[in-house]
């Protein structure tokens, strides 16, 4: 009677099927879509939870870390899973929440070697990584594979999000030209993070993915949305595509992913066991 939806799906997605820009047509688009979440940490947790709840049909989740007790203050999908790989923990969370969603869990580091091959399989990418080399690697893989990506970053009480849609607006490198020198920007581990912050920014990234798949609304393309949780303020900076961008400009210097471009001094190699 109602196309290909089961009665359970009609009930599960009723509040969003009812929305003017979704309907059954939009819900089918979501169920047929594939979103990759790089990092199942703070940003990834909230993005994964809402994308799974909305019925995004396939979620790729890549993370090489193990759940630790210090993660649980903000990484809300990993409860009860200390010691388990985050990708596997995230997969079990999704399965409990919504059996319509297929999870492809990669218990691996998102690296120069696998970046393009993985990104290629998805319609939209969420950058939930926590270090600069990976932000640039994700950007470069997405630009080269022409995949849209929502970038997010958080520190202490502040965070930002922006979305890059290849050939339609600036990429991450257009906005942040160079990797800051090591040590200039402290990591969350050193500086701390207000637990709700990744929840807010990760949810913004998830809404970007949903709108892109649905083909509705305005994404953060060409806009950097900044949030301060202490002042409870949002502000927006506009960003343009740079003609001299090293990857998406007129004469790009970066035409392939070369591992040596994504090294960070002092950063240990990606590892599976944090206690090693």
């Amino acid at each position: 009677m109602s196309g290909s939806f089961t009665d359970e799906q009609i009930r599960r997605y009723s509040r969003q099927i009812i929305l003017p820009d979704v309907g059954g047509i939009g819900q089918r688009k979501l169920l047929g879509s594939r979103v990759l979440i790089i990092g199942a940490g703070g940003l990834g947790s909230s993005a994964i939870a809402y994308l799974a709840a909305a019925g995004v049909g396939t979620l790729g989740i890549i993370d090489s870390d193990i759940v630790e007790i210090s993660n649980l203050q903000r990484q809300i999908i990993h409860g009860g899973n200390i010691g388990l790989a985050k990708s596997i923990s995230a997969e079990s969370f999704v399965r409990r929440l919504n059996s319509d969603v297929d999870v492809v869990a990669y218990q691996a580091c998102f690296s120069a070697e696998n970046a393009r091959t993985i990104v290629r399989e998805y319609d939209f990418v969420i950058d939930g990584s926590d270090n600069f080399p990976t932000h640039y690697l994700i950007n470069d893989a997405c630009v080269l594979e022409k995949k849209p990506c929502s970038h997010g970053s958080i520190l202490r009480y502040e965070g930002y999000a922006t979305t890059s849609i290849p050939e339609r607006g600036p990429c991450y490198r257009c906005i942040f030209k160079k990797i800051p020198p090591p040590g200039l920007i402290p990591s969350c581990q050193e500086a701390g993070v207000f637990g709700v912050l990744p929840g807010i920014i990760g949810t913004i990234q998830a809404s970007e993915a949903l709108k892109f798949v649905l083909g509705t609304g305005q994404t953060l393309t060409g806009r950097l949305l900044c949030f301060n949780a202490l002042d409870m303020t949002f502000f927006e900076a506009s960003a343009r595509k740079r003609l001299d961008c090293s990857i998406c400009g007129e004469y790009p210097r970066i035409v392939s992913i070369e591992p040596e471009n994504y090294l960070e001094e002092g950063r240990k190699e990606c590892r599976l066991d944090p206690r090693a």
């Binding site: 009677m1 109602s2 196309g3 939806f5 009609i10 009930r11 009723s14 509040r15 099927i17 009812i18 003017p20 309907g23 059954g24 047509i25």
Partner: protein, 85 residues
């Protein structure tokens, strides 16, 4: 041809969700007859259909506690060429 949707026994918001899904499968100008047995749902479905731009052709009680809505899907019924003639 008028299509039918029997939503007796169904409650809000599923009454409208199912109506909306059915309307999506129809062509502009086609009519749908919906049966409902809840006053609130009848009012809500009627209002929601209007807010999505469809026409309510008829709304009546056909027996005690049962309402029938006839709605016409928004969009052209006949090709533009014929209308202009």
């Amino acid at each position: 041809m008028t299509l039918e949707l029997d939503l007796r026994g169904e409650v809000c918001p599923y009454t409208f969700v199912k109506t909306k899904l059915k309307m999506e499968e129809m062509a502009g100008g086609e009519e749908l007859t919906i049966l409902l047995d809840d006053t609130e749902a009848t009012a809500n479905v009627s209002r929601s259909l209007k807010s999505e731009g469809h026409d309510i052709v008829d709304l009546k009680s056909i027996s005690r506690g049962v309402w029938q809505i006839t709605a016409k899907k928004a969009g052209f019924q006949t090709p533009r060429k014929e209308r202009d003639e």
